[in-house]
Symmetry: C2
Subunit: 209 residues, 2 copies
DNA sequence: GTGAAACATGAATCAATATTCAACTTGAAA
DNA sequence: TTTCAAGTTGAATATTGATTCATGTTTCAC
């Protein structure tokens, strides 16, 4: 009886099975990769388990060795991709010399990621409805990173004092919408121009000096 | 044969039937209202046609007198709500004396709307996946209004020159995320504080003066 | 008052598909 | 070489729920 034995479990992701053999790890990865492509292209509800297993080159039944349900694999995917976004953007940010340019670098890195991984990125967005907990988790973590950067910048005197969580949510929203409009829906607009304009807004605001 | 006769159609919404009698108008409205509650509370896919008709106090079959499909009523609803958001926010904006306070008023009005109409508001968000065209339409219109305000402000010398579409998308994203975080997920944070902070970001940016 | 168009009804249809299950295979440790 | 836990398989199940349709009722213009 191959009931997903509640055995080893990765970081707080209840229900996520960790394979014990190399063969198992390969199958698990194949399923996740296939799911990313299918969910990204067709969305959660239009994607069938068979679409995923077919693309992964795996039997239908094997799916349930690794995931308890369709929602389960979606949740796992969101964690996976949340990590990817962070990993892609981080080096850009770290290379920047001061607080303001760190925010510009974060936006530039994010726009770049979204543009290259449009389908993939939509999965995170759809999580708002398919896996709200995973969605909240992703953005709470993202915003916490931004807020930490801002507070650090303020402490160093590179930003005005008092910036914090609200400003971080505002910036996150800005970035996400610019990503949607110019990264996903974009029709060849110059991304560096978008970054420059958005950054000026963040740095100086809209008022006359 | 009560096939939705392709007859009169409201503003560019193909497939939307306009009832010819008072009774029909009442039923249509009951369906839209019920759908808003059900979709808002349970989401598109968890909501059945029967949930909508039951709540509306109408027979299952009557649904198809007015809508060709479940997606059809969802689309109609998004248009409906898009109009409501605009109508709710507009008076706040118009009462404001200058460009910068207009943006503050818009955010304040929007946060207020989202807080009072949380369930309703989620429908617009879910449209990104259920009715992408309606979703794009909503935001393109919203952003066009913001951009027009900004350009007007710049022309009057109340804002710096050169602000436009990119800035408008940035502000829209800011507002939406603040609405999600403090309006929908909020746990009693002081909204006026949120508005004040976000507005200072828009007016002055994060840099030191 | 009459007739036709508009609207209402809900049981029956019908396709989709997530999930289960019992039998089979693999691979590595003993 | 045997053994067994781990992994694989895909046909069968079971439910769900959107859509159809044939029939009944209401409205209103004439």
């Amino acid at each position: 009886m191959p009931q997903p034995a509640a055995d080893t479990v990765t970081e707080g992701q209840p229900g996520l099975i960790v394979p014990k053999t190399e063969r198992g790890r390969r199958t698990l990865r194949a399923l996740l990769d296939a799911a990313a492509l299918e969910f990204g292209a067709n969305g959660f509800h239009a994607t069938g388990i068979t679409d995923i297993t077919r693309r992964a080159g795996v039997a239908l039944g094997s799916f349930y060795t690794y995931f308890a349900s369709k929602e389960d694999i979606f949740r796992a995917l969101v964690s996976d991709l949340s990590g990817q976004v962070k990993t892609e953007v981080a080096p850009h940010v770290e290379a920047a010399p001061d607080a303001l340019s760190r925010e510009r670098a974060a936006l530039a890195g994010f726009l770049d990621f979204v543009t290259r991984q449009q389908l993939i990125y939509r999965i995170i967005d759809e999580a708002e409805f398919v896996a709200p907990d995973a969605y909240q988790g992703h953005y709470r973590k993202t915003v916490a990173r931004i807020a930490a950067r801002l507070e650090d910048g303020a402490a160093k005197g590179e930003l005005r004092a008092g910036v914090g969580e609200v400003e971080a949510w505002a910036i996150a929203g800005m970035n996400v919408f610019l990503g949607l409009r110019y990264g996903v829906w974009g029709e060849g607009e110059e991304l560096s121009e978008v970054v420059a304009r958005a950054h000026r807004l963040v740095a100086e605001g809209l008022g006359r000096r």
